[in-house]
C-alpha cells in the first residue's frame, strides 16, 4: 500500500494551469523535499494535497483513501495529515501563548465525538514540546518568540495530533542555522524512528540533497519525484532554472556545478 500516490494531477488557480500531469508515488515512510523556482507551484501542490485547492483532473491517494478531481476532500484524510502553513498567514494580533497554539492542533480531536480527553491535553502538549525542546517557552506569547522558536511551535501544533503524514510549507524560512539543523534532525528522526512521512517545501537545495530521501522537483507545471541519490538528474533540473531564480542555489553547493 502506498503512503501517497498522485496520478495525472492537473491544478488550476484563477484559470491558470499551475501543475499538470503530476504523477508520483511514495511507498514507504520518507523524507520528501519539494523544491523549485518561485511561482513554480510548490505551495499549490501542497495545498492540493491537504484539500485546500481542488484539482481539475487526476486523483490523490493518501494511504488507502482516494480523492478524485471534483470530489470533496474527506475529513478522514485531514485527520491523517499534520499541516504547517507559512508563518505569514498567521494573525499575529491575537495574543495567544505558544501552549495555546500547540493545543489548537488538537481542536478537531476535542470537538464531539472526542478522540482526546481534555485531561490528556497537557501531557500531549508537554510530550511534543519536550521532544522539540520548546517546553520552556510554552508560556510565552507567540509573537515574543524568535523565528526558529515560532517555527518549532507551529511544527509542534502540526505534530500534536500524531499524524501519519506531515506537510510543511517552508518551515526553514527565517530560521538560524542551529535551529534549522535541529528541525531537520527532528524531522529525520520522525521518519526513521516513528515511521512518519514528511513533505517539506524549501528553497534550500542543500537541504534537499543532504537530508531528504526523495526530491520532488516542481517546475514549468511539472512535478517529478527523484531519489536524492540521483544527483545528476537533479543538477540537470537545476540548470534549467531561469537566471533570476538561480540565487536560490547556494554558490558553494557541490550540487550546482
Amino acid at each position: 500500500m502506498s503512503i501517497i500516490a498522485v496520478e495525472d494531477l492537473k491544478i488550476c488557480v484563477g484559470g491558470r494551469v499551475i501543475i499538470q500531469d503530476a504523477t508520483f508515488r511514495i511507498d514507504e515512510p520518507s523524507f520528501v523535499v519539494i523544491i523549485g523556482p518561485n511561482g513554480a507551484g510548490k505551495t499549490t501542490l501542497l495545498k492540493t494535497m491537504i484539500g485546500l485547492i481542488k484539482p481539475v483532473r487526476g486523483c490523490i491517494k493518501i494511504l488507502d483513501r482516494v480523492v478524485r478531481a471534483g470530489e470533496r476532500y474527506p475529513r478522514s484524510i485531514r485527520k491523517l495529515i499534520g499541516y504547517m502553513p507559512q508563518r505569514d498567514v498567521i494573525n499575529y494580533a491575537v495574543p495567544l501563548t505558544a501552549r495555546e497554539i500547540v493545543i489548537s492542533g488538537i481542536v478537531e480531536n476535542l470537538t464531539l465525538p472526542r478522540t482526546v480527553l481534555p485531561r490528556d491535553v497537557d501531557s500531549l502538549v508537554n510530550n511534543i514540546a519536550g521532544r522539540l525542546g520548546i517546553d520552556n517557552i510554552l508560556h510565552k506569547f507567540f509573537d515574543e518568540l524568535s523565528g526558529g522558536q515560532q517555527q518549532k511551535v507551529l511544527l509542534a501544533r502540526a505534530l500534536v495530533k500524531d499524524p501519519r503524514i506531515l506537510i510543511l510549507d517552508e518551515p526553514l524560512s527565517n530560521v538560524d542555522e542551529m535551529s534549522r539543523v535541529e528541525i531537520l534532525e527532528f524531522l529525520r528522526d520522525l521518519v526513521r524512528r516513528d515511521g512518519r512521512t514528511v513533505l517539506l517545501v524549501t528553497h534550500d537545495v542543500e537541504v534537499a540533497m543532504s537530508w531528504s530521501d526523495y526530491v520532488l522537483l516542481v517546475n514549468n507545471g511539472r512535478a517529478v519525484l527523484y531519489s536524492s541519490k540521483m544527483i545528476e538528474d537533479v543538477n540537470k533540473f537545476l540548470r534549467q532554472y531561469p537566471e533570476k531564480d538561480r540565487k536560490i542555489v547556494p554558490s558553494r553547493s557541490p550540487y550546482c556545478a
Binding site: I50, G51, L52, R75, S76, R78, K79, I81, Y83, M84, P85, V89, I90, N91, A93, V94, P95, L96, T97, E100, I103, S104, V107, E108, L110, T111, F141, R157
Partner: protein, 276 residues
C-alpha cells in the same frame, strides 16, 4: 417588572453580547462588518418608516426586529462570499457608504415625528425598552453566548490561522460564517438598545484595546463583559440624576477608559525604553 430591574436585565444581556462579540470582532478583524451592518440597519429602517409613512402603516417593534435581522444576515451572507480580508473590507466600506447615503436620503423626506423616531436608533432608547424587547434580547443572548462558549476554540482558530483551520477536519468556513452571524446579531441588538454611535463603542473598543494590550482572548471576553456592564450601570445612574441619555454617557466612558489604557501603555513602554 420595575424599570430598574428591566434596565439591569438589559444591561447584563447587552454586556454579555458585547463582551463576547467585541473580543471576537477584534481578533477576527471584523470591525468593518459591525460598522456596515449598523449603517445598513439604519438605511433599511429609514426605508421602512418611509414606506409606512406613504401607506399609513403601523411599524411595531417586532417588524423592526424582523427588518433588522434580515438586513444584518443579508449583509453577512453577501460579504461571506468575499474571501480576502482586504477585498472584504473594500466591499464592506462600499456598502457602508451606500447605506449611510440611503439613510440620509430617506430621513430627509420623512416627516418630523418619524425623524425623531429614527433618531432613537442613532442615540439609543435604553429607557424605552419593553418586555417584548427584553425577551428577544434574552433569546439572542442565550443563543450567542451558548455558541460562543461551545465553539470558543474553533472560533479562535479560524480567527488567528484560517488556512490551518481549513486543513483540519473542523468545518472552518462554516465556523467563520457562524462567527460573522453572531457578530451581526450582537450588532443589531446593540443598535436597537444603545443606538448606532454607542454600538461602535461597546462592540469595537473594549475587545480591541484589551487584545492590543496582550490580554488573552478568554480574559478579554470576561473583562469586556464587566467593562460594558459597569459603564452601562453608571450611565443609567447618571442618566436618572442629570437627565442625560445613558447610551451617550456609556459611549463617552468606554472611549475615555480606552484612551487612558492606551496612554498608560504608551507611557509604560516609554519608561521601560528610557530605563533600558
Amino acid at each position: 417588572m420595575s424599570l430598574i430591574v428591566e434596565l439591569v436585565c438589559v444591561s447584563i444581556l447587552i454586556a454579555l453580547l458585547a463582551g463576547y462579540s467585541s473580543t471576537f470582532t477584534s481578533i477576527s478583524r471584523s470591525s468593518f462588518l459591525v460598522v456596515t451592518i449598523s449603517h445598513a440597519i439604519l438605511a433599511t429602517l429609514a426605508a421602512l418608516f418611509y414606506i409606512a409613512y406613504i401607506y399609513s402603516l403601523h411599524v411595531g417593534p417586532l417588524l423592526i426586529w424582523l427588518v433588522m435581522f434580515v438586513t444584518a444576515l443579508s449583509v453577512c451572507a453577501f460579504v461571506s462570499h468575499v474571501r480576502l480580508f482586504s477585498e472584504r473590507d473594500l466591499v464592506l466600506s462600499i456598502i457602508f457608504a451606500l447605506m449611510l447615503s440611503i439613510a440620509a436620503l430617506f430621513m430627509a423626506v420623512l416627516p418630523g415625528y418619524m425623524v425623531s423616531r429614527m433618531w432613537s436608533f442613532l442615540t439609543g432608547s435604553l429607557l424605552l425598552i419593553t418586555p417584548v424587547d427584553i425577551s428577544l434580547i434574552f433569546i439572542i443572548c442565550l443563543i450567542c453566548s451558548t455558541l460562543y462558549t461551545f465553539f470558543y476554540r474553533e472560533f479562535l482558530l479560524v480567527s488567528y490561522d484560517y488556512e490551518y483551520a481549513l486543513a483540519t477536519s473542523i468545518s472552518a468556513s462554516a465556523m467563520n460564517y457562524v462567527l460573522s452571524i453572531l457578530i451581526s446579531i450582537a450588532t443589531l441588538a446593540c443598535v436597537y438598545v444603545l443606538g448606532l454611535f454607542v454600538t461602535y463603542a461597546v462592540m469595537l473598543i473594549p475587545g480591541s484595546v484589551l487584545v492590543n494590550a496582550r490580554v488573552r482572548p478568554s480574559t478579554s471576553v470576561i473583562m469586556s463583559i464587566m467593562i460594558v456592564f459597569i459603564t452601562l450601570m453608571i450611565s443609567i445612574g447618571l442618566a436618572f440624576s442629570y437627565n442625560i441619555p445613558p447610551s451617550g454617557l456609556c459611549g463617552v466612558m468606554i472611549s475615555v477608559l480606552a484612551g487612558l489604557v492606551i496612554l498608560v501603555r504608551f507611557l509604560t513602554r516609554r519608561i521601560k525604553r528610557t530605563r533600558s
